[in-house]
């Protein structure tokens, strides 16, 4: 959009660098992801729910009585989105896709890219699986993307 003429402005920027703590639960999750290609959740010993992303407490029972459990790198596509614009606003030739996948063996899920598929190949409720990156660095980007499970 164009700016009105004759408006005087001060140009500047805000720039702040961060080192965000992963926290107690995040450290374990991302370490297992990096070292063992495992998706870990925390299971509440009181209600049995398995949280992904993991937390050190159960928000329903409000206790810190959790054990770590491995969940499947597979699950159900809850919803997905596509866009022909990159996050920085560039027009894309191929659609950029994100999906939310509920992981088997858990009551939670993750959001990530979808790969090896076109939007028309996807539908809510279909099985998906995680493709891991070969070189992993303890980040959510250690997951390459979700893809439809191949029969």
């Amino acid at each position: 959009m164009t700016k009105k003429k004759n408006e005087m402005t001060i140009d500047g920027e805000i720039q702040i660098k961060y080192k965000w703590s992963l926290g107690k639960a995040g450290e374990r999750f991302f370490t297992e992801l990096r070292d063992n290609k495992k998706i870990m959740g925390t299971k509440c010993r009181q209600c049995g729910r398995v949280l992904v992303p993991p937390r050190i407490f159960c928000e329903e029972c409000f206790v810190e009585d959790m054990e770590w459990v491995e969940v499947e790198p597979k699950g159900t596509l809850m919803t997905f989105g596509d866009s022909y614009f990159s996050t920085d606003g560039k027009r894309l030739e191929e659609p950029w896709m994100l999906g939310i996948v509920r992981l088997n063996g858990s009551d939670g899920g993750l959001i990530h890219f979808i790969g090896e598929a076109r939007p028309e190949d996807l539908q809510i409720g279909m099985p998906m699986e995680i493709v891991f990156k070969d070189k992993r660095e303890a980040s959510i980007m250690d997951i390459l993307y979700f893809r439809p499970v191949k029969d």
Binding site: E60, M78, T79, G81, S83, D88, L98, D107, I111, I140
Partner: protein, 388 residues
């Protein structure tokens, strides 16, 4: 039982893409307007509450501090609320608690957002995402809404044409609103042909980037009765907050807004409303995207759950319909300066008072509802106002 609180005046200004005024100048504009409309002076105001959703838009963090002089709050008690987009209605709720507490008789509620000082709204929005699980994948607002809209229309069988009709209605309604940024005479085909941002959300399903402010003056029951013979009461209010971990919520479905149903139930219970479809005369519903108006109409009980498509198909929410929604143009037609979406409440007030000008609906309005939505598919705030 809580004390009664009335709205006794509102302050308006035109919503625009890039206002030349500073935040302070914008706030003065609406505060003065609200005082004039209420025949009050700033000395009458006991306390001020501010609402602004995201300081990174205007790049002045703790932006409440630049608005004090202009709000009539100088050397008075002030507070600043921020609950993402639901700030639009949670801020008048904050004002309500100030008055209902018995401590203050007249409270100025000022909401403002200067969204266009920054060079990239996306850079601003990225500051709100969880840094470990979400931010790295580069989630942006269009695809964030695409994810939700797809879940919603998949669950309830809503169509893109039904969404488009909401856009046509709201932008068309804005033609009668002198404060509107984006009035447009559109057809359903125009909306359907507009480019996809993220399926099913198209350009004309969205709301613009907006600068603007709104003010509302709240009064205690005794003072309201002194000031007016026709007070508009706050009859009900509610709020709901869901988990930031939207990928792992208990209800397993982004398409169903549990937190919004909850907020509506609180507000209606407080107002003694059992059947909103018959008891609510008018609604201003938070509509940053067409499907959000539809979801919120359902959550507010203005139509059956999943029935928002039929509601627009049957013309119920049109200006001349049985339950008009956003005759002001809503966020899509009037503009979407996040926190200043309190405009939804202002227009409910105007409709009840018969002061909505060319936006006035052709029916009696005694009871109206407004809501706000924000966060990671997270917050809803609801207020019901009306005559006795």
């Amino acid at each position: 039982m809580a004390k009664r609180v009335a709205i006794i005046g509102v302050g308006m200004q035109k919503f625009e893409f890039r206002k030349k005024e500073t935040v302070e100048e914008m706030v003065f504009d609406v505060t003065r307007n609200a005082l004039e409309n209420s025949h009050l002076s700033k000395e009458d105001i006991d306390a001020v509450v501010f609402g602004s959703a995201v300081d990174a838009f205007c790049g002045i963090h703790n932006s409440d501090k630049v608005a004090i002089d202009a709000s009539g709050g100088l050397l008075k008690p002030t507070m600043r609320n921020s609950t993402s987009g639901s700030t639009a209605i949670s801020t008048p709720i904050l004002g309500y608690t100030h008055v209902a507490s018995g401590m203050y008789d007249l409270v100025m509620v000022v909401c403002f957002e200067k969204m266009s000082e920054n060079e990239s709204a996306q850079a601003v929005f990225s500051t709100v995402y969880d840094e470990a699980f979400v931010r790295p994948i580069g989630l942006n607002v269009p695809i964030q809404c695409g994810l939700e809209a797809r879940a919603y229309i998949n669950r309830y069988g809503i169509t893109e044409r039904q969404m488009a009709k909401v856009s046509v209605k709201n932008r068309g309604n804005a033609l009668s609103n002198p404060y509107a940024q984006l009035p447009m005479k559109l057809t359903v085909e125009d909306v359907m042909k507009s480019p996809y941002l993220s399926w099913p959300v198209k350009l004309f399903d969205t709301s613009p980037v907006t600068d603007g402010a709104r003010a509302v003056i709240l009064a205690s029951e005794d003072v309201a009765r002194e000031l007016t013979d026709d007070p508009v009461w706050v009859k009900g209010l509610g709020r709901g907050a869901d988990s930031v971990w939207f990928m792992g919520r208990t209800n397993n479905d982004l398409g169903r807004l549990d937190y919004a149903y909850m907020a509506a139930k609180q507000a209606y219970d407080m107002a003694g409303i059992r059947d909103p479809m018959s008891e609510i005369d008018y609604a201003e519903v938070y509509d940053p995207f067409t499907y959000k108006e539809m979801q919120h109409c359902e959550a507010l009980g203005l139509c059956p759950e999943g029935g928002a498509g039929r509601m627009i198909d049957e013309g119920i929410s049109l200006k001349g319909g049985a339950l008009p929604v956003n005759a002001s143009g809503g966020l899509q037609g009037e503009g979407n300066p996040i926190g200043a979406g309190m405009s939804r409440l202002c227009w409910c007030y105007f409709q009840i008072k018969g002061q909505a000008g060319d936006c006035q609906v052709p029916k009696d309005v005694n009871t109206a509802v407004a809501n706000g939505w924000g966060g990671m598919y997270q917050y809803n705030a609801v207020m019901v106002i009306g005559r006795d």
